[in-house]
């Protein structure tokens, strides 16, 4: 499972990369530090057909463009060519966030940090069943 990780927190990115590598079930193929960076990457990726992830791991609280704004703009960037599932990663998931995330069809899961191997297994199973 190829993962595109969008998080401004470099420590978390390190943890996620280590856990993912260690798990043997997933691999982080690209990283972005905010929503805008992420859209830029995806735009290039979609147009070139290279480096398209199986899933996007998205943090909500980021500078410049946060996770919600990214979700708003994602369909436009993908331009209906492709559907990439999103899993929200957050250090605090409120019921409000949970309800809001359900309004986006691409959001397939929510994970409370820290990321564990179990999370990865669950996400992989989810993609497989889709």
């Amino acid at each position: 499972m190829n993962i595109f990780l969008v998080d401004d927190d470099s420590t978390f990115r390190f943890i996620a990369k280590t856990v993912t590598d260690k798990s043997g079930v997933a691999k982080i193929i690209a990283e972005a530090v905010n929503g805008a960076d992420a859209l830029k990457y995806l735009s290039t990726s979609v147009s070139s057909g290279k480096g398209i992830p199986d899933m996007i791991f998205l943090d909500l609280n980021m500078p410049e463009m946060n996770g919600w704004e990214f979700l708003e703009k994602l369909p436009h960037t993908l331009d209906g060519k492709i559907n990439i599932p999103v899993c929200i990663l957050s250090s605090s998931i409120s019921s409000h966030d949970s309800e809001r995330s359900q309004t986006y069809g691409c959001v397939k899961g929510m994970i409370a940090k820290p990321l564990t191997e179990e999370h990865l297994h669950r996400m992989r199973a989810l993609i497989a069943s889709a």
Binding site: T11, S91, T116
Partner: protein, 657 residues
């Protein structure tokens, strides 16, 4: 020793009080006969001194006039009768009072035997009916005049003894008044030996109603003469024993309010005429006392009203034609002006007013159109000392014989307004601080979570086995524990904040079975590892409440039951529900280790209160349950016995539909 009366009745009916010289003379001492004759000649009543043999030692001018008009035979007969009287008196050795008819007139004769001599002094007093009536009339007139000047009940009772009784020539008299208890008679005024000076009563005695002759008269309400007190068992000795007594009641509307009582050392002293005059005096006195009491009651009422007005909480004033007609003490204090200044010519209410609020302007405009209804408004006033005061004013238009006037009540609210302003400022400051605190708590809860979860994540991927140093291993292990604890604490803080934010959660239909099933799924691991059996008995399953609250109650109380189970038996949790008036009562009864309520009862629902050393005990669950219940007027109670189990009873107030 001769007993001598100090009174004589003049021929014209007025009382002639014996002079000191006459009284000395009666005692037969230091005056020579010439002086005696001169003194006795001034007495308008006949006076004789006759020996037992019939010889006249002397007679005064009035006595001469009385006998000169008699024929020789008649004069001889009368002299014989007088000699017989003298012999009797001298033989008895006692002062005697006798009736005597001579020359067509009735006389009272006081016969005084001379000590050691065969002779007696005879003092004649005419008592013919017309004279007596005239005398009584004059006593009444004098008493009526005295009553006119009387201003108090005390004045009245002293007028009875000083102006009436003294004129009747009684030796002694006391006036009793009914005590405040209505059961006793108290001596209030006296004449004679009981009155040594001015308005003093010597050793005033108190009688019970029915006690003594006076007490008995107070009960019968009928005046009475006792001609011989030695034969009357009711007689009570006051200052000395006397042989006759008269007592009349002072009646007010047929109620006894006092007694006029007189005693005399001689038997048969009082006549029916005495009873008549005293009864008349008592009646006049009662009328006056009644009037005085009414006046006193009115005065007391007026004084109470004035006191009430002056001590009222607010300033009270009456305005007529824009001028003050009455101001109370409080209003004077508010304005700083004296009463004379406020009520003085040329001073108008307008001079005090500095500003009127909109409501006041409206009220005044309405007044101008003839609106008389009560009005409330606020004004700003300038005091005499140029201080500004804020007043809340209530006015109403009333009317009397002089036309309409304004009755106003003004409350000084200067301090109140200042306090209100301070309170508003404090409140705003407090709200600001509160908001800051709330934001800080949210920031702390939210922003700390990312680094803490990173710590937990980092420690999770740290390869413990790669470091051979055992100290490092321990350090990392401890760090992992600390990070985990911090993470849980943050999660709880977050729960509390979330719960506070969700206080206004909407009511909706909740289904207890659904919530229980959901909770059992969430707590599957805990319930399974505890092997806990859950029994339910829901009399009411669906009702209107805040769903997330019920979920929290079930989550915390079921997890507590699993956590604090007894190791000695299989854990059983019984959950029930029932409807009680407008509330649903939920109970969670377990057979766990229980809580020592004597030690922890008062803290049980506090934040971070832990009563067991259970590793997962955080002390937050019951706090959340309690806070949520309280926010919707519900209650929670707990019964527990260490070693036996615990029952929580939750009363959920249902919303009024």
């Amino acid at each position: 020793m001769k007993k001598i009366s100090n009174r004589e009745t003049e021929n014209d009916g007025t009382m002639h009080v014996l002079s000191a010289a006459e009284r000395h003379m009666q005692r037969g001492t230091e005056y020579d006969d010439a002086v005696k004759a001169e003194i006795l000649n001034r007495n308008p009543n006949p006076v004789f001194c006759i020996e037992t043999g019939g010889k006249i030692r002397y007679k005064n001018t009035a006595a001469k006039q009385l006998t000169e008009t008699l024929s020789i035979e008649e004069r001889g007969l009368q002299m014989y009768r007088l000699a017989v009287m003298v012999r009797k008196v001298v033989k008895s050795g006692k002062h005697q009072k006798l009736q005597y008819h001579i020359n067509g007139a009735d006389f009272r004769v006081e016969a005084l035997p001379r000590e050691g001599e065969d002779a007696a002094d005879l003092y004649f007093t005419e008592i013919s009916e017309s004279v007596k009536i005239k005398n009584y009339f004059e006593v009444q007139a004098a008493f009526a005049e005295a009553l006119l000047k009387a201003e108090s009940v005390e004045d009245v009772v002293w007028s009875i003894v000083k102006q009436a009784v003294a004129r009747l020539g009684y030796d002694d008299c006391v006036v009793y008044l009914l005590g405040e208890d209505g059961k006793t008679l108290v001596q209030k005024a006296a004449h004679g030996p009981k009155n040594p000076r001015e308005t003093d009563v010597l050793n005033p005695i108190v009688l019970q109603l029915g006690q003594g002759i006076s007490g008995d008269v107070a009960v019968t309400k009928t005046g009475e003469i006792v001609n011989d007190t030695s034969k009357d068992p009711r007689y009570v000795v006051d200052d000395e024993v006397r042989l006759s007594e008269i007592a009349v009641p002072i009646l007010d509307d047929d109620q006894v309010i006092g007694i006029i009582d007189s005693e005399h050392r001689s038997k048969n002293f009082y006549s029916p005429e005495d009873l008549s005059i005293l009864t008349a005096i008592a009646s006049m006195a009662a009328t006056k006392i009644q009037r005085i009491k009414s006046t006193e009651a009115i005065k007391a009422g007026r004084s109470k009203t004035e006191s009430l007005i002056n001590n009222a909480f607010g300033g009270i004033y009456i305005l007529r034609d824009h001028k003050f007609e009455m101001v109370n003490t409080v209003f004077r204090d508010i304005t700083g002006y004296e009463e004379e200044e406020l009520l003085g010519e040329g001073f108008a209410m307008e001079e005090l007013i500095h500003d009127v609020e909109e409501s006041g302007v409206k009220a005044m405009e309405e007044r101008a159109t003839g609106d008389k209804a009560p009005k409330s408004y606020r004004i700003t006033l300038v005091t005499k000392h140029n201080e500004i005061r804020r007043l809340a004013v209530n006015t109403v238009i009333l009317e009397d014989e002089r036309g309409p006037y304004t009755l106003g009540i003004a409350l000084d609210i200067t301090q109140l307004i200042e306090s209100e302003r301070t309170l508003r400022e404090l409140n705003a400051e407090l709200s600001e601080r509160n908001e800051e605190l709330k934001q800080f708590a949210q920031l702390a809860s939210h922003n700390l979570r990312a680094p803490v979860s990173n710590m937990v994540g980092l420690l999770g991927i740290y390869e413990k086995d790669s470091d051979p140093n055992p100290t490092n291993k321990t350090v990392i292990k401890s760090l992992a524990k600390a990070a985990s604890d911090l993470s849980v604490t943050l999660e709880e803080m977050h729960s509390v904040l979330r719960m506070r934010a969700e206080q206004s959660q909407q009511f909706g239909t909740v289904n207890l079975i659904e919530i229980l099933e959901k909770t059992c799924v969430i707590l599957k691991n805990e319930i399974d590892s505890a092997k806990m059996k859950i029994c339910v008995d829901f009399e009411v399953e669906k009702f209107n409440y805040v769903r997330c609250h019920i979920e929290n109650f079930f989550f915390n109380l079921i997890s507590n039951a699993a956590k604090y189970r007894s190791r000695d038996r299989l854990p059983i949790l019984k959950i029930t529900s029932r409807l009680d008036n407008n509330a649903v009562v939920l109970t969670f009864a377990d057979n766990g280790i229980g809580i020592d309520l004597e030690r922890h009862g008062k803290d049980i629902f506090g934040m971070y209160q832990r009563f067991h050393n259970h590793p997962d005990s955080r002390g937050i669950g019951l706090y959340l349950v309690h806070t949520q219940l309280k926010s919707l007027d519900g209650t929670i109670g707990v019964k527990s016995k260490p070693g036996e189990g615990t029952t929580f009873t939750l009363e959920l107030k249902l919303p009024v539909s």
